[in-house]
């Protein structure tokens, strides 16, 4: 049976690269001295899988290299070796080397063995650096070949299974059958130890055998058969030497006489085996080449099985609708036109849902992008002699694959900037009364219909005056400008602007920020800076949600329908007269348990003329929270809860205050999604104009 191993290569590469990421982040999390066993275990497992796979798929260089890493990790795992910073760094560099090797192999390039050798020597040096280094190395010399077998023409095997042997799943009969595959075999059973039936445990083995193998085999060929049971049986394998001696004397005749039954058998076997050995490396090379071609061309995406299941469900619905429609079409009469319309509407809805679900497959957690930063921060901070802790949150926020692909480089640039220009040297920080270790916080979240990515540091902040003077020097602004702080910060996005006193190889030569902004604009997003001298700064990237799913509550005001994100709803209540309070000049409030919360009438904020009721007692109050502020949203009615696909209003129109986006309802119409913080802002603006007439 020939199997094209190349078909598994892509999966192997994919999972190996993932494994490398696991190893890398695990190593970065590892505190020298106090290593977490589970952490080492997962790193070990990843290395182990790469080693196993690369061995199986014929990438010997990779498996050899990984073996050394694995040995080191194994010793760490068993506590035989201390987890030192040196070892962790060496392992990190090994991850890089391994990644390069995998890249080379997957692109069908040659591996740079110099790098590999150098790194391997480094690992080996660490391994040899203590008395405990030896054990795993012995593995290679595992089974010394049986010696002195040339003169032997047969074997006598005494095989006495221990009673428990069958409970390991090993079957003596099977083992004997296997021996018979080796050639001419004579088997004699010995039932002398069999107890009386009443005492017989059917799950135990009491028989033993004497097996004569009349073949000139290597001892290892026989002992191999018993490999799995050597501790579960009494076994002796003794050469039959009488013939062997005779053979030495009168070789040709005796050999043919003894092996008369199957004379040519062993010869042919050996021939076959050699042919196989010769064939396999060629196969491997071919396979490698084929897989290399495939790897460079295709880009794959790993999809959560739930999403696939969702798709399958939807296709199922579609098939049902289709068969319903075709039945309807078989004998259609005009009185069934309503059912036809229903069916068509259903078809449209299902098709749309299917389309949206397919699009949903493109959504990936932003951790794909974030995962590179621990390493980046680790490497750069040690290079710059700074102490920096990277915090990350919201890694599971899902964004479109395009965003994942395009946001990486801008983020790297911004994080590098934070490390380079933001965070101060430890002495400087100490002198300023700050902790020596600076913090960079990378976060992602869905907010107000956008994806917000923030890079926040507690470094020295932007120096407004330096930016100002630089901009004047560059002729970007005049000395008599009247720019706000925000506008001054914006200047760093101008082409060719860099405030670094010295150009460093960390954050480049001032070609960055304008390109960063351009890239983000191309994604339809915007970028903002917040900064405070001495306290730190934050870069806020706002990306539109081309696509995201939200759990929503559908509400009605008059004949208009809106969606309130379920996450912002605390509860819904029916107001009673004694709950309502008026605060002069600040409009209506209501008492919810011990808090007084403002009432926001959605029909006023949005100018909805078709509103059913303006009487607070006859509508409903949805208690919502946004940006830490709570209020009661006065609406006519709650309709239902559903998952909605967020569509951008900005794609074809513009951002609208109080709305985070829109969605398409089951009937194909558009419903707008409320942005609760925005609505609270709109409403407070309204009351700041002191609309007392309404609240009186």
């Amino acid at each position: 049976m020939t199997i094209d191993m190349a078909q598994f290569h892509q999966v192997f590469f994919d999972e190996s690269f993932e494994g490398l990421d696991v190893m890398e982040s695990g190593l970065l999390n590892m505190d020298p001295g106090t290593a977490d066993t589970e952490e080492i275990n997962s790193i070990f497992r990843a290395a182990h899988s790469i080693k196993g796979g690369s061995g199986t798929f014929g990438f010997t260089e990779i498996s050899n290299f990984t073996h050394v890493m694995e040995t080191l990790l194994d010793e760490m795992r068993d506590g035989r070796r201390e987890v030192t910073a040196v070892a962790v760094d060496a392992l990190l560099r090994s991850v890089d080397v391994l990644r390069e090797m995998l890249k080379a192999v997957s692109a069908d390039d040659t591996i740079d063995m110099d790098d590999v050798q150098a790194q391997q020597s480094e690992l080996e040096a660490i391994l040899n650096n203590s008395e405990s280094a030896a054990p795993a190395a012995g593995a290679n010399s595992a089974q010394p070949a049986a010696d002195g077998a040339e003169a032997i023409t047969g074997w006598r095997v005494v095989f006495r299974p221990l009673p428990h042997m069958m409970r390991t799943g090993n079957d003596p009969l099977r083992i004997i059958q296997e021996l018979t595959d080796l050639g001419d075999v004579k088997v004699e059973g010995d039932a002398s130890l069999l107890p009386r039936l009443a005492e017989l445990d059917p799950e135990e083995c009491f028989l033993s055998w004497v097996i004569t193998v009349n073949e000139a085999l290597e001892k290892s060929q026989i002992s191999e058969v018993f490999d799995w049971v050597e501790d579960d049986c009494e076994l002796s394998i003794v050469p039959i030497v009488t013939e062997a001696v005779a053979e030495q004397v009168e070789a040709p005749e005796v050999e043919s006489a003894v092996q008369a039954s199957e004379p040519a058998q062993p010869e042919r076997r050996q021939g076959e085996r050699r042919a196989e050995d010769r064939r396999s490396p060629v196969d491997r090379r071919q396979n490698d080449r084929r897989s290399g071609g495939g790897a460079s061309g295709s880009s794959s995406i790993r999809v959560d099985i739930n999403k696939i299941d969702g798709l399958i469900n939807m296709v199922g619905e579609l098939v049902i609708t289709q068969s319903m429609l075709s039945m309807l079409g078989e004998d259609f009469t005009i009185d069934r036109v309503e059912r036809l319309q229903d069916g068509l509407a259903q078809l449209e809805r299902h098709t749309r849902e299917l389309q949206e679900s397919v699009m949903q497959i493109r959504m990936l957690p932003i951790s794909f992008t974030f995962s590179r930063f621990p390493r980046l921060v680790h490497d750069l901070s040690s290079k710059m002699g700074k102490k920096i802790e990277l915090k990350m949150s919201g890694e599971q926020t899902e964004v479109d694959k395009t965003v994942i692909e395009k946001i990486g480089d801008p983020l790297v640039h911004l994080v590098r900037n934070s490390l380079d220009h933001g965070i101060e040297m430890p002495e400087v920080r100490k002198a300023a009364g700050k902790p020596e270790t600076g913090t960079v916080h990378l976060s992602a979240a869905h907010r107000g219909g956008n994806i917000i990515i923030e890079i926040r540091d507690d470094g020295k902040g932007l120096d407004k005056h330096r930016i100002e003077s630089k901009a004047i020097e560059r002729g970007l602004i005049t000395e008599e400008h009247n720019l706000t702080d925000q506008q001054i910060y914006e200047l760093i996005f101008q082409a060719g602007f860099s405030t670094a006193e010295q150009i460093s190889d960390v954050s480049g030569r001032g070609v960055g920020m304008d390109v960063v902004r351009k890239n983000i604009n191309e994604l339809g997003g915007s970028i903002e800076i917040e900064s405070e001298m001495g306290k730190g700064s934050a870069i806020i990237i706002r990306l539109p949600l081309t696509l995201a799913i939200l759990d929503g509550q559908t509400i009605a005001v008059g004949d208009e329908i809106y969606i309130v994100p379920l996450v912002s709803i605390i509860e819904s209540i029916q107001l009673k007269p004694d709950m309502i309070n008026l605060v002069a000049g600040r409009g209506e409030t209501f008492k919810l348990r011990n808090d007084y919360l403002p009432i926001v009438r959605l029909h006023e904020v949005f100018g909805i003329e078709s509103v059913k009721t303006t009487d607070l007692m006859s509508g409903l109050l949805v208690v919502v929270e946004g940006d830490g502020k709570r209020c009661g949203l006065f609406v006519d009615d709650l309709i239902g809860q559903q998952q909605v696909v967020i569509k951008s209003l900005e794609a074809n129109y513009k951002r609208v205050d109080g709305l985070s986006g829109a969605t398409i309802l089951g009937d194909g119409s558009v419903a707008l999604i409320l942005d609760i913080p925005g609505i609270i802002r709109l409403s407070s603006q309204k009351y700041s104009v002191a609309d007392l007439k309404q609240s009186a």
């Binding site: 199997i3 598994f8 290679n140 799943g169 090993n170 799995w228 396999s280």
Partner: protein, 120 residues
């Protein structure tokens, strides 16, 4: 048709094993770790289990231990896929009730030959 449960956290190894065995006419069930394998084993019996040793959630050794406690897996051949050529892992496996092992790396022919040892 003999049925085989293949357990490996590495998708490529699992695919290779499964593809090879299916090609040889076996029915193959797959599991990504010991927990998954055990839950499959509780619902049905198979003729052979081939399991990786190092896996998250439940490793191969614990899986073998657990399988052996199930009445329908008392005598079922349980093979470990192991790169550890050191006797230690094999001993642990044997102690847990493993029938035998297949040493990685292996090629499809080797796999099939080994499977033929236990499924006749």
């Amino acid at each position: 048709m003999a049925s085989i449960l293949a357990v490996d956290d590495s998708a490529s190894m699992r695919q290779m094993v499964s593809f090879t065995l299916k090609g040889a006419g076996y029915e193959v069930l797959e599991a990504a770790d010991g927990v998954e394998a055990l839950s499959i084993a509780k619902t049905r019996s198979v003729d052979l289990v081939i399991t990786d040793v190092n896996m998250p959630n439940m490793d191969g050794i614990s899986l073998i231990q657990n399988l052996r406690t199930l009445p329908s897996y008392k005598f079922t051949p349980l093979l470990m896929l192991t790169t550890e050529s050191s006797a230690e892992k094999k001993q642990q496996g044997k102690a847990a009730g493993a029938t035998g092992w297949i040493v990685k790396p292996f090629n499809p022919e080797q796999l099939l030959n080994t499977v033929k040892k236990v499924i006749r």
